[in-house]
Each structure stands twice: as C-alpha cells, then as structure tokens.
C-alpha cells in the first residue's frame, strides 16, 4: 500500500469533501481523510480551517490515526488556541492509558503544543508520568520538562519538576538518566540559577549510566561532563579512565565528545606520563574518523585543526593520513591542506612538498591556488626548508600555467619579506613571466619585488617603465605598488631615467586619479623627496620587521573555549558560540527574527565568511600588511590612546583593513612603520597625542603630603594603572634647603593587600628647591586588612628627614585587574552559584549613561568587562552584566539603567561581598565620568 496517492487530490471543493469524510462513520474512510489532510499539510497547503473537524477525531482507538491527529495539532494548535483546548481531555485520558506507548505519546505531544491554556493542563499528567512505572514513559517525561521550561520556566520551578529531574539522575534505567541529563543541561543553559551542578556524587551515577545507555545518551552525558571541574588531578584521572574506553565507539559523536572530556581533564592532570599516554590513545580514533562519510570527515578535520593547535604532538606522526585523495570533496581537501601545513616540520617537509606539488597540478583552480600558497606558508614557517620550498615553487613556475605562476609569485613576495636578501637569484626566473601576469595581486607582488631589489636588477627601470605605460588603467593595488616601487628605484638609483619616471608617476597620481589614498601617498612622497631626500630614504628604505605565518592560528582564550566545544558547530566555525547563537531568547520576538532571516544581505556576508573560514584565513599572509606589522601599528595607536587599549577590542584580522592604508600611506609598502620616524605617529591620529598630553599637563595632581607640615617636602600623586601594574604616579618637590634622598616607603595593611615595591624609591633624589617624579609600584599579594576601606596609610622617610605619615585614598577604579575578564560560561556559572547573601545593591540616582557603547569602552579601560545585556520586558530599561576582579575578589556586576535617563541601579555579586562597597565607589566614579 502506498501513501503517495494521498498527495494527488487537487480538485476544487477538496476542503468541503475532506470535512465530510472526517465526520464519516466509516473508520477506514475517516483515516484516509486524516491522511489526506496531513498530505496537504506536508506540501504546504493551509488546512487549518479543518481544525475542529480533525480535533473531533482525537478520540480514536487507532494508534496510527491518533499519531496523525496529534501531528496536526502540533502544527496548528497555535493558530486555533481556543479549539485546541478541546483536545485536552483526550490528552489527559491518554496519559492514563494502560498502554505505555500511548501514555508517552500523549506527554510527548502535549509538550510540543505551545498554547498557554494547554500548558496548564499538562502539569498534572506530567507529574504522574515522571513517576511512571514504565521507563519509556519516564524518559519521554524527562524531555517534556525541558519543553515545558522553554514555554514557562516559572511553572517548572513552581511545580518542583526540577527536583523530579534531579531524582531521575538516580533512575535505574540508563536511558532515563541520559534524557534527564540532557533536559537539566538545557535548562541550566537558559537559567540564571544553579540548576544542574555535577557533584562527585552525581558524577558517579553518570559514569555508571554512561556504560549502559544508548550511543545518543552517551553523547548527552559526555557533553555535560565537560563542565565538570575536577577537584584535583586524581579526580581528573579517574574520569579520564572511565571515559577512554568510549574512544572505541563506532559513533563519531561519542568519540569526539570523549576526546572533548579527556582534553578538558588533561588541563588538570599533572602526571606527564599519563598525558603522553592519553595523546597516544586519542590519535587513532581521530584518524579513524577520516574514513567516515565526507561530512563527518569535515567535522573531524575542523576539530583536529583545533586540537593540534594545542597538542601538536598528538598527530605529528600521522601526517600521511591527511594526504588528499583524488576524489575527496573540495571542502575536505581544503581542511586537510590546512592541517598538513600545521603538521609540516623539517622532518617531513620533503614528503609534504611532493604532495603539495601534486595538488598544484589538479583541476580545481581554487584548490591549486591553495596548494601553491601552502608551499609558501611552509617556507615562511620552516626556515631550514625554505630553499626546498622555493625550488618547488620554481618548478611550478616552469609549468607556465597562468594561475599557478601568479599565485607562486604572490607567495614568493612573502618569502622575500621573511628572508630578505637571501634568494634574489631567482628574480631572473620571475622576470621571465612578467608579461603573463594579469591579476592585480600578482602584478603588485612582482612590482614590489622589483622595487625592493631595484639595485640588483639591471633593467629594473625598463621593467617598471612597461608597467607605468598603463599606470592609469591599473587597479589601485597595482598603482600604489608602482608608485612606491618607482620611489624606491629613484632613491636607490638617482639617475636621469628614474627621475623622469618619478616625475611622471607623481604627476599622474596626484593630478589624474580620483583615488584619495593614491593621491595622498603621492603627495607625501613628493614632499618628502623635495624637502629631505635623506629622510625619504630613511622612511622608504627602512628595514622591515620580519613576518611570520600566524594565519589561522587562534588566540589562546578562543582556542580554550573552542576545545570545550569540540564536536559542536562552534568547533566547525572556529567561532565562539556567542558569535552565532543569540542567547537572549526571551528578548527576540520570533516573528521579526524570521523576517530578517537568511535573505538579508548583511547577514549573507557574515554567512559566507563563516561558511568558508579559509577564505578569510588565506587573506592575511597575502594582504599588503602582514599580521605582525598590523600589530605594530595598532600597538602604536594603543599607546597613544593610553589605557583604552584598542588593540584588545578587535581581533587582528578585523584591524587589518583599518591599519592597512595607514601602512601603505607611508610608503612602507609592506608597512614597516619603524618607530623612530615621527611621521607615522602623527599620522596615526594627531589628535590623540594632544588629547593625551593635555589633561596630564593641565591638572596638577592632588596633594598627598603638604609642604608646610613636612619641612618643605611636598608630595602630589595619583594612582594609575598601566600594563597590568598599579602604581602611584608621584611628584616630589623640595622646598627645603638640603637635597633629599634615600627614600623609603611603607604601607599599613590595606584592603587590597598592596605593598610598595621594595626599594621602589631608592633612586629618587630631590634637589633643594627642585622637584622630581617617581612611579611607585604597588605590589599585590600582601595580606589584606580586615577593615576594608579605600584608605591607605603610608609612611615615608628619607635619609634627611623624619618619618612622614599620610593617608591618601585609593582610587578603586584603578585596582581592577586584567584577570577580571571571564568567559560567559564562567560568568554564568558563577552568577548562578552565588547565593543571595552574597549580593549587594546600590542606587546611583544621579548617574546617567548616554551611550552603552562608550560606557563599555570606559569600563573596559578600567578592566570592568562587559558581558551581556538584555532589555527589561515592558520598559525601556536594559540590564547589563559585567565582570571584574579586585586583587582579592571576583565581582560580578549587574547594572539596570535606561540610556539617557538618570538613575542606575547596580548590584554586585561576589564570593567575597565585603569588597562590594569599595567597588561601588569605583562604579560611582566611572558612572560620573560617563555622564560628563
């Protein structure tokens, strides 16, 4: 019997007919009618108008029909909540049916119907079914609690369902345990209270269930174990011992989740021998995943990529398994290539190069390019093998395949950057291929090489001249490079020919193009050359910092987070979950969410970016400004803008486009930006410099010790923080007749346990009538005082005078440490685990935050880190969450505010709430500065 026939009715009056059939007394006819309705629903026809008639059919003995009717209800109950209630009776009745399959079906279906009125009726049957004798009903009820929590967390809490779930962790049936774990873990993810903390007691139960439950259940349990923090190394070892056998499971998800748990515990394990054994044990299962379906291979490869960034030795001996098969899908090949680059070493480079060379002759152009680029990246990473890599590249250039040659030239440029003045002998070969170049990037690379080695290429001027003929038709990238190369040529060979060339190029660039970057760069060169050619040489021909290949290398924090998410989408995207999961589910109205869904072009860019991380990843080494240079420039700016530390704001790749033109502008072509030249500093942001210097100069520091009370010694100072160190920025002035030296300082015990750096002022000498400045480092780590105030009792003496005492206030906002940056999970976990007694609240009625973004920057500058925000339903207020750390206490802040309206409520949670009052002082100051 085929059900396909139910799709074929398309005649008019269909609905009316169906209605009639649904009321038929003939059971078979009735059932067929329901099937027809479901078939119509399947192809997307709206059959919601039949709702009352279908609901009528719920009272049936036929299980198949019952399931179809329930399916219909799940789909349409939302549109007809009033009639849906008619089905409640059946649900309640079914949940008491002697047949456990029907009891479970009723509970399962009810949970899927998101109609408030039905939800109310769900509670009693659910309560019963959670304690059902039949494990099948219990395992279904466990999931139903999670469904209910999604609809109404309050009901779940009020009715004590959470306790039921927790009890289920001790259930005799492993599948019930697994589903209870899944439900609890999900509820925990969406709850602010501690719901599901794995204690050593529950751990034992989970481990027992792990051995017996289904493969899917094993994944639920393993995934929740990742969150368990082992008490000590022994605890971790025992977990690992229980989990390791799972590596042999046929289910890839079980294997990856086991790897995840083991890696997490390896951070705690101290026994290096054991760690070595574990690495050895994990390698074969990971390799085995590569013989699974291509999609699973892909997930495995993305994860292996992460794992070897932390534990490279796990797979170093297995590089061969990553060799591409001819028929591998491109997405698998690309990932394999990436891993091969990471695993390449001097030991295996010969083999790897042979492979890359092989790939470079394949059909897929994109993959061929990636292979060529891979050779270049190996050359940059492995100094001793660079020559071998270059030889392979030269061989590839001999093939004369256009795109191979161009790609090879691009990477050779990078190799020249990495090993200056080493391989110029190959330039001749490169020059032979000059006329085949038609891609801007390759052209620009070639021109850069010519400019850089202009003094050694006899006909450099001729070569450049051929390009210059078409200067105005070239793309910007090539034009910029031509401009710079011509300047270099002129500086290296200031003869007549180059002089004419430079004249022409500067004319064209300044007068005949509309591109401001090009024009401005030309002007700068022009002015430099005309005012001081020697300075021009210093700037343009300056030595460049070495580059290294750190593309696709994740920073340690992100890597750590991703390793905790092995197997999940985050590990596939190589992005933290927060980057693509909107956690504030309550805040999002679902309808809107859907409208702006996948078709929005803004999202699309993001999507493709996510979908093919290698595209973005491949860019940095090729881009004009290699990563280290970017870092240099951003650092420079970072220093200027003082504590705001913008480099921390954006990951390096994002900073690249901004910094790029900057480097280019200065004609450092590959943006060397050496510090001695004052120009880049001014160029970076001339105002930043002034901004910074003014307040410092204009406002004298507050007086700490008055000259009249201390025999003419006056001390002014402020507490500041720089580079993770808190210090007193002190100005001493001596109005006495004798020179003061041999200063010594002592602090009384204080709230933060600060002690002065030993001999911190030993070098200070203040001449009579003169002044001097010093920075006195405050060392944390001393025992904190019992009375927590922001006062600091200081005793200072010098060789000439008695001891002076003074009591300045500590500016608490300077004392937050960099360690205050928590990841969200840690924050959430801590927030939930702290009971209410650890909470302090204070109102700041006058405070007014005009913009959350700038406020965030301000807070961040003082190491108070923004975590999340959500709107308060029904008001214009928002709640923001922050994390911070004073030397003695981690403080979690919650600020409720309305942008632009005075009044901020701040609530602080901490394991050490006694520090909250101090933190409030800091918050008050920070709020005040935001208000201005």
């Amino acid at each position: 019997m085929s059900d396909g026939k139910f799709f074929t009715t398309t005649k008019k009056g269909e609905i009316a007919d169906l209605k009639e059939e649904l009321h038929s007394l003939d059971k078979a006819k009735k059932k067929d009618a329901v099937k027809k309705v479901i078939a119509a629903m399947t192809v997307g026809k709206d059959v919601s108008m039949l709702f009352p008639d279908v609901v009528n059919c719920t009272q049936t003995d036929n299980l198949e029909m019952k399931k179809l009717v329930y399916l219909y209800l799940i789909n349409y109950a939302k549109t007809q909540p009033d009639i849906a209630i008619m089905a409640v009776n059946t649900f309640v009745k079914d949940s008491q049916d002697p047949n456990p399959l029907i009891r479970a079906l009723a509970v399962r279906t009810m949970g899927c119907i998101r109609v408030d009125k039905i939800t109310e009726y769900l509670c009693d049957p659910l309560q019963k079914c959670l304690k059902d004798d039949d494990p099948y009903v219990r395992k279904t009820s466990a999931i139903c609690v999670a469904k209910l929590f999604d609809i109404s967390p309050e009901i779940v809490e009020d009715r004590g369902f959470l306790d039921n779930l927790k009890d289920m962790l001790s259930d005799s049936n492993p599948m019930v345990v697994a589903n209870a774990v899944a439900a609890l873990a999900e509820i925990q993810d969406n709850s602010t209270k501690p719901v599901f903390q794995i204690t050593s007691h529950t751990l034992y139960k989970l481990m027992a269930a792990l051995n017996e439950c289904t493969e899917w259940g094993q994944v639920f349990i393993l995934d929740s174990l990742v969150k368990y923090e082992a008490r000590d190394a022994r605890d971790a070892e025992s977990i690992v011992e229980r989990v390791t056998p799972r590596l042999q499971h046929a289910n890839c998800a079980v294997v990856l989740s086991s790897v995840k748990v083991i890696l997490a515990q390896m951070d705690v394990i101290t026994n290096t021998e054991l760690i070595r054994t574990l690495c050895k044990k994990m390698a074969p299962p990971l390799v085995t995943l590569l013989s699974a379906e291509p999609e699973i291979q892909y997930v495995a490869l993305r994860n292996i990529n992460l794992i070897i960034q932390k534990w490279q030795n796990i797979l170093t001996n297995d590089i061969k398994v990553f060799f591409c098969k001819y028929n591998d899908p491109v997405y698998v090949k690309t990932e394999k290539l990436e891993i091969m680059i990471k695993l390449a070493s001097e030991r295996n480079i010969d083999q790897v190069l042979l492979e890359f060379k092989e790939y470079a002759t394949e059909v897929d152009v994109d993959f061929v390019r990636k292979a060529v680029r891979a050779i270049g990246r190996c050359a940059i990473a492995l100094e001793r093998s660079a020559e071998a890599c270059i030889n392979v590249l030269l061989e590839l250039i001999q093939t004369k395949v256009n795109y191979v040659v161009q790609e090879a030239i691009c990477v050779i440029k990078d190799i020249f950057r990495r090993y200056p003045n080493t391989y110029e002998t190959i330039i001749a070969t490169l020059c032979e291929n000059l006329d085949t170049l038609d891609e801007p990037e390759a052209k620009a690379a070639m021109i850069w090489i010519i400019g850089e080695y202009a003094e050694r290429i006899d006909n450099a001027d001729e070569l450049l001249e051929t390009f210059l003929e078409t200067f105005l038709d070239e793309s910007t990238l090539v034009q910029l490079q031509l401009l710079t190369a011509t300047v270099k040529l002129f500086l290296k060979r200031p003869t007549e020919g180059p002089q004419q060339m430079i004249q022409m190029v500067l004319n064209q660039a300044t007068q005949e193009t509309d591109n401001p970057d090009l024009r401005d760069r030309a002007y700068i060169y022009w002015r430099l050359l005309s005012t001081d050619p020697e300075a021009a040489k210093d700037v343009v021909l300056a030595e460049k910092p070495t580059i290294s290949d750190d593309s696709n290398q994740l920073d340690a924090d992100l890597l750590h987070e991703l390793l905790q998410n092995i197997g999940t989408l985050a590990s596939v995207y190589h992005k933290p979950p927060d980057a693509f999961v909107s956690r504030a589910r309550v805040a999002v109205t679902r309808g809107e969410d859907l409208e702006e869904d996948p078709l929005g072009s803004g999202e699309e860019g993001e999507a493709s970016d996510m979908a093919d991380p290698t595209v973005a990843a491949a860019a940095p080494p090729a881009a004009e400004t290699p990563a280290p240079a970017v870092a240099a420039v951003t650092d420079l700016m970072g220093d200027l803008m003082a504590p705001a530390a913008p480099s921390a704001l954006a990951p390096v790749p994002a900073a690249a486009p901004a910094a790029d033109p900057l480097g280019d502008l200065l004609g450092l072509d590959v943006s060397a930006a050496p510090a001695p030249v004052p120009m880049p500093v001014a160029a970076a942001d001339p105002f930043a410099l002034m901004d910074q210097s003014q307040p410092a100069a204009a406002q004298p520091k507050p007086i700490l010790l008055d000259a009249s009370k201390a025999q003419g010694l006056e001390i002014r100072g402020v507490l500041a923080r720089e580079g993770g160190v808190v210090f007193w920025d002190l100005d001493f002035s001596n109005q006495s007749q004798s020179q003061l030296s041999g200063f010594q300082v002592q602090f009384n015990s204080n709230a933060f346990g600060f002690t002065p750096k030993p001999n911190g002022l030993a070098d200070l000498v203040v001449p009579p009538g003169g002044s001097a400045s010093a920075k006195l480092h405050m060392m944390p780590g001393g025992a904190p005082a019992t009375a927590l105030t922001n006062m600091l009792q200081v005793a200072i003496k010098n060789a000439q005078q008695p001891v002076w005492y003074f009591t300045p206030t500590i500016a608490v906002e300077q004392c937050f440490t960099e360690e205050g940056l928590l990841d969200r999970d840690a924050f959430l976990g801590m927030w939930k685990s702290l009971p209410d007694v650890n909470e302090r609240t204070q109102m700041f009625p006058a405070a007014n935050v005009p913009s959350v973004d700038t406020f965030t920057l301000k807070m961040r500058a003082h190491n108070v880190y923004f975590m999340a925000q959500r709107p308060v339903p029904g008001t214009n207020q928002i709640v923001t969450y922050w994390s911070s750390k004073l030397p003695q206490a981690v403080l979690l802040l919650e600020m409720t505010l309305q942008v632009g309206v005075p009044g901020v409520k701040c609530c602080i949670k901490s394991a050490n709430p006694d520090y909250a009052p101090l933190a409030f002082m800091a918050v008050e100051k920070l709020l005040a500065s935001a208000t201005n």
Binding site: G4, A39, T42, D61, L68, N99, P100, L101, I102, C112, D134, P135, Y136, A146, P174, M175, A185, N211, E212, W216, V219, F220, S224, R246, Q248, A250, C252, A253, S257, P284, V287, T288, S291, E295, Y298, V299, K320, K325, Y326, P329, V330, Y331, T361, V363, G567, L569, V572, Y573, V581, S582, L594, D597, P598, L599, G600, E603, A607, M610, A611, D612
Partner: protein, 441 residues
C-alpha cells in the same frame, strides 16, 4: 545546548522542494527550506561545505540519492551528533522501505512522520535501531486496539526493551538451527606514486555478523591482533600477529571489558549487524601492483603502457578487477592491446580506458598497451592534469591485513551448539569506499 542535534529536519528533493519535514522546536522558522534552496543550493559559490550559517541558523546537510536531508538549528548544536543522526536516519528508512529516494519518501510519508516522532524528541536523538523500532512501529502501522489485551503485552515489552541495557536484542528469540556468520571485509586504500613508491596505504576492515541464535547468547571473539594475543600470554609462537591501529565497536560490545582485559565480548543483536571496524597502516599486503608509463607524444597522441601484477598467493583468485586509466577529454579513439587477460575499451563517458578482468589468479603479470589519438585542440592551453589510475577488485579468502579469527565462542544457558561460518574478503573501489590510486605523474 550542545546535546541538541536539530530544531527541524527537512527532506528536500534536488530542486529544494520539501518532501517531508518535521519541526522539533519552534526557535527556527518554517521557511528555512526556501533559504536553503536560494542561498545554498542555487548559490554560485561552490565551496559546498556541509555546514553552513545563514541568518542566525545553522544548516547541516547531506545528500543521498535524489534527496537532501537537512537539519536546522539555532543553537550551538553538536554537529557530529547531527551528521551521525542523519546518516543513521537514512539507514533506518532504508531498512523500513528499501530505497531512500524522493519517490519512496512520498509513498511512506505517514510512516515517516511516525518514525520522526519516535527517533527524535525536542531535538534529542532517541532510538534509531531498526530492529527495536520495528517492534512497535510496523510498516502497516500498529494494528493494536487498546482493547486488545494480547497486543498490549507486546507493547509493554517493547517499551522495556527499547530502554533496556540490552536494547538491541529482544528476549525469547528461538531458532531451530543456531548459526553465526562472520565476514571479515577489508577495504584497501592505496596512494602510490608513478614510480611505484607507496605514499600511503591502509586497510579499513569491518567484521560483519549475521546471528541466528536462540535466547540471550554471550559471544566472545578472539583475533590474532597483538593486544589480545599478548594479553592472553599464549600463542607467541604464532608468527602472524598483527597490530591494529584502531578499533571501533558496535554498541553491543562491552567497551569497559575491552579496555581492561582486551576481550571482545558481546550479546549480539538478532540478524545482521556490523560488529567492529578497524584500521591498519603497517604491514598491509597490497594485492596488486600497477606500473604505468604514459607518454604524451606531441599534442595529438598518447602512448599508454600499464603493467598489472597480482601479488597474492597463486591458489587464490581476484574477481571483478577493473582498471581505469584516465585519458584526456578530447580523446578520439584508442587502439588497445591486452596481454595476460581481460578486455579493455575506451569509455568516453568516464574519460577512461576501462580494463576489465573477470578472474585473475595470484602471482600473474598482465599488460595493457594502448595508442590513444586526440583531437588537436588549439584553445586548451593548460596541460592535461593526468589524474590517477584507479583500481577496483575483490579477492575472496584473503585479508590484506593478515587478520584472522582465532576463535568465536558462543555461550548460552540453553547450552546449544552453534554452527559458525567465517569468510574473508579483501577489496577496493566500487561504492564500498576504498581507493586504490596510482598517480601518473
């Protein structure tokens, strides 16, 4: 929510139209199939990664025959779990209605809805073992009326069975004749350079079992691999001990016991199943050697010379050997001569010379010589990429790895004697996976 595999499952045809779908959570919209069609299927971008992110939803998909199976989620779902779920789901559907195709999905939509309701709950995979599901979801739908007491007893059992520790086997199975079949099937993967250097070779083996055993039998399997043999202390004189790189087991195998005392012991499901998979990279006996010489003579001619050697013992025979030798697209014709056996012809659809040898004994040497004529093309600048030669074959009775079954013990409280059948097969190519590739440049 890393446990979740999906918020919705879609089955789409190649045009991206919905065949059947099921929503498990309402955090994703219903129009996602459209998004999938316009943004992924019709997109020009050919990266084709099987995990895509579009407008706050993640799409995890695979294709089987003419059907896309798509899981959509908004959370940080477990991608490995999602793919495994999709693959198992395809296997399950195949076991219910044979083929997994657009047509068969449409014809069984009622059953599919029923299965979808059972195998996943709120995005959490539940039970996907065909044998178990067939206990209470039958092809014709459950016939039981709740008044029917007899049927109810079955149902009651089903639920206990489904969730039980030995979820894969029901009680009270009885066979007149107790039999076990055990097949060792090995897929050889090879990547060899034109000069005959082995770049990579490994062997992916499976042990497939078919059990027709009564009651609740306990089985114990002994292999000649290093770990188990050493553990047992004996048989050191046995010179054919091999080392398995990695082993994965069916859900029924007690992994705890394997890790402590290295025995493979299990209560098998009834009927057919895959007991274990293993992988070996060291000491793989390659059944065939191929030595190709391919010369391009000018732009219009190609000289192909391929030598095929069978390296196994002469008493065995390889079956269905197919050698595919790629030639350029613009081939006109080929004059082929074979010595030693088989038939060869030029297959324009595959751009290959296809050499088929029905039966080939061990320690033989076969030759193929061909002159290939090409159309002279002026436009084609790029050199011919010389794809690798590909080999397909089956050799019964041998294992490339040298793996043998030392013993297979069946123990049941009924105390019957089971008849055991053991076969071995080494193969490569075909749809079973395994690639035997010899590069030509």
């Amino acid at each position: 929510m890393a446990h979740v595999a999906a918020s919705a499952i879609y089955f789409l045809n190649l045009r991206g139209e919905i065949i059947v779908h099921r929503m498990y959570r309402d955090d994703v919209g219903r129009n996602l199939a459209d998004a999938f069609r316009t943004q992924i299927l019709q997109s020009k971008e050919q990266t084709g990664t099987p995990v895509r992110y579009l407008g706050s939803c993640s799409f995890v998909y695979t294709r089987y025959n003419n059907v896309y199976v798509l899981a959509v989620t908004k959370s940080n779902a477990n991608a490995a779990l999602a793919f495994k779920f999709l693959n198992e789901l395809i296997t399950l559907f195949k076991s219910y209605f044979g083929e997994f195709m657009e047509e068969s999905l449409r014809n069984n939509f009622v059953l599919i809805y029923e299965l979808l309701d059972e195998i996943m709950d709120f995005g959490y995979p539940q039970i996907l073992t065909p044998e178990i599901l067939k206990l209470y979801i039958t092809q014709q739908g459950v016939k039981s009326e709740s008044a029917d007491k007899g049927a109810e007893v079955v149902d009651n059992k089903a639920t206990l069975q489904v969730t039980g520790a030995v979820g894969h086997r029901r009680e009270g199975i009885y066979y007149k004749k107790n039999q076990v079949y055990l097949d060792i099937v090995e897929n050889v993967n090879l990547l060899m350079s034109a000069k005959g250097t082995v770049l990579r070779s490994d062997c992916a083996g499976k042990i497939l079992m078919k059990c027709f055993l009564s009651g609740m039998p306990d089985l114990k399997l002994g292999l000649n691999d290093k770990l188990t043999v050493e553990k047992e202390g004996g048989a050191r004189n046995d010179n054919k001990i091999i080392e398995l790189d990695d082993v994965t087991f069916h859900q029924c195998v007690n992994l705890g016991r394997f890790s402590t005392d290295k025995t493979v012991s299990f209560v098998p499901p009834d009927g057919e199943f895959e007991l274990m998979r293993y992988r070996i990279t060291e000491g793989v006996h390659l059944p065939f050697r191929v030595l190709p010489i391919i010369k391009e003579l000018g732009r219009t001619r190609l000289e192909v010379n391929v030598k095929l050697k069978s390296a196994f013992e002469p008493k065995y025979h390889a079956l269905g050997v197919i050698v595919r030798i790629p030639v350029p697209k613009h081939t006109v014709k080929a004059n082929i001569q074979v010595r030693g056996g088989g038939k060869a012809k030029y297959d324009a659809a595959q751009n290959c010379l296809v050499w088929k040898i029905k039966r080939c004994a061990g320690k033989k040497e076969l030759h193929l010589e061909a002159e290939v004529e090409l159309v002279s093309t002026t436009g084609e600048k790029k050199a011919w990429s010389r794809p690798p030669i590909n080999l397909e074959f089956q050799v019964p009775m041998i294992t490339a790895s040298g793996l043998r079954v030392r013993f297979l013990k069946v123990w049941e409280k009924g105390g019957y004697k089971a008849i055991k059948w053991i076969r071995t097969l080494t193969k490569s190519g075909g749809d079973s996976g395994g690639q035997y590739e010899i590069r030509c440049n």
